[in-house]
């Protein structure tokens, strides 16, 4: 399974990239897209929405099932990627190349507490 070493992860299968300005770019992992199957609908949070850590903020639906996407940390949504709402299948084709939304975290240092690639690999191996 593809788990890039330079990203952070959650046990609910989001990937997080910390940008230079402290913003977090968030998507779903390759493991998540694989488990869901063909994606057909993605709903993203409104820009400017304040979210709590662990709050369900987006929905990804495959032919088979609907699944929530959670906020890894508390913060404010700063961008939503309409490219994936227009063409959800792009997330199947390249889960790490297509982010869902960006978050300005309330406390940027909290991002360091998220899972690293090795810990996330262990999580999915245990499933």
């Amino acid at each position: 399974m593809n788990v890039p070493p330079n990203l952070k992860y959650t046990d609910s299968h989001e990937w997080i990239r910390k940008e230079a300005d402290g913003t977090l770019t968030i998507g779903i992992t390759d493991h998540a897209q694989e488990a869901l199957g063909d994606l057909v609908f993605i709903e993203l949070p409104a820009v400017g929405r304040t979210v709590k850590a662990g709050e369900a903020v987006a929905v990804v639906e495959s032919v088979k099932a609907a699944s929530d996407v959670y906020a890894p940390l508390a913060g404010v949504v700063s961008a939503a990627n309409t490219e994936v709402t227009d063409a959800p299948e792009k997330v199947n084709a390249d889960a790490y190349g297509h982010w869902l939304y960006k978050l300005k975290p309330a406390n940027a240092a909290d991002a360091d507490k998220l899972l690293d690639a090795a810990a996330y690999s262990k999580t999915i191996a245990a499933e």
Partner: protein, 360 residues
């Protein structure tokens, strides 16, 4: 421990993702289930349906027994090889299962039942035979495998994969079957496309699978099977109907004949029943999510529930089967509760798609 069909290793070799389906380990897809769906609508796909059970009924009173045991009338079967879709009902009209009955000979019928209900059905038939069918022998055929080959090019590809089969199966009209050596070839299916369902000795199933694959028939999993049958407006037992519902509220009134003098299990209850709910099709309008089973449907005449919902690859939108109050009619607009939203859907009469064509 999940049960496995004779094709289990072949599925794994083809890269299948395996899931638990009614106690059986079955392929859900081999990659993209949408591509598998399109393969069946446009060319040819194959499904391992060996988890379903063929049950042979033999004996002098077989027809008279089935005339009473099944909700549909086996007297519609007058030509050898003809197939009949029917519900199996409880005395109170609840649906125990849906099945296909094939007329083999005057004293021999084959019934194909669902996997998850197979043991229950066999016990039910045995009890009914003890009561009403002296001398009838019931034989569950777990020695047989079943492959469904479906799509506009399915028959041609079966003929290419199975030398000699064309002569035996080309004359078959829809819902007819013929024996070809060890192969029972039926022009039936669960996709809304042309094709065959092949029943054969389990030990030959891997060879046939490989032959079909070699002539370009695409392996398809339960995921595509579900979107295909839903587009075709066909019920899934356990979801669109259960023992808690009768055929009249499940879109299956056409399979039940209450007018004739024939008595059958469940008839009296159905004749007395006051029907307040009906099955309709829904086509979601304007995006916003995918219709799923158990979502609430709000109509002018009260609320109902989606029994099966999915994304339809052919319509590129969401469709569903729903049970709603009587009075809701095709053309109406209803509201479906999807998470925290209310989405609009248009009421239609299923099927949604047949033979590759959109009908709604």
């Amino acid at each position: 421990m999940l049960r496995q069909t004779p094709l289990n290793a072949a599925h794994r070799a083809a890269g299948a993702k395996m899931v638990d389906f009614g106690g059986w380990e079955m392929p859900v897809s081999y990659g993209s289930q949408i591509e598998e769906h399109h393969a069946v609508r446009r060319d040819a796909g194959m499904f391992d349906v060996s988890h379903m059970l063929a049950v042979d009924l033999a004996g002098d009173g077989a027809r008279a027994f089935l005339r009473y045991a099944l909700a549909n009338n086996v007297d519609k079967l007058s030509v050898t090889g003809k197939a009949l879709y029917s519900c199996l009902l409880r005395p109170d009209g609840g649906i125990l299962d849906d099945l296909i009955a094939y007329f083999l000979r005057e004293d021999a019928f084959r019934i194909v039942v669902n996997a998850a209900t197979a043991e229950k059905d066999v016990a039910w038939f045995n009890a009914l035979i003890a009561e009403r069918g002296p001398g009838i022998a019931l034989t569950p055929r777990r020695d047989l495998a079943m492959l469904a080959v479906q799509g506009p090019n399915a028959r041609t590809k079966v003929w290419a994969a199975l030398p000699g089969s064309r002569e035996a199966s080309e004359p078959l009209k829809p819902f007819m079957a013929a024996q070809f050596g060890d192969y029972f070839i039926a022009r039936t299916g669960y996709t809304g496309e042309d094709g065959f369902e092949l029943t054969l000795p389990a030990e030959r199933s891997v060879a046939l699978w490989n032959e079909l694959s070699a002539v370009g028939v695409r392996p398809c999993g339960l995921g595509a099977r579900d979107t295909l049958r839903l587009e075709a407006g066909m019920n899934l037992y356990g979801q669109d109907m259960t023992e808690a519902e009768n055929p009249l509220e499940s879109g299956l009134a056409w399979t039940v004949d209450l007018a004739s003098a024939r008595d059958f299990v469940g008839k009296e209850a159905l004749a007395r029943a006051s029907i307040a709910r009906q099955q309709v099709g829904l086509v979601q309008q304007g995006g916003g999510g995918v219709l799923r089973s158990h979502q609430r449907v709000l109509t002018a005449g009260g609320s109902g529930e989606i029994t099966s919902g999915t994304f339809s690859p052919t319509l590129a939108g969401s469709i569903a089967l729903a049970r709603v109050p009587v009075g809701v009619t095709p053309g109406d607009t209803v509201t479906v509760e999807v998470r925290d939203k209310r989405l609009e859907a248009r009421v239609v009469k299923p099927p949604f798609v047949r033979q590759g064509k959109v009908l709604v």
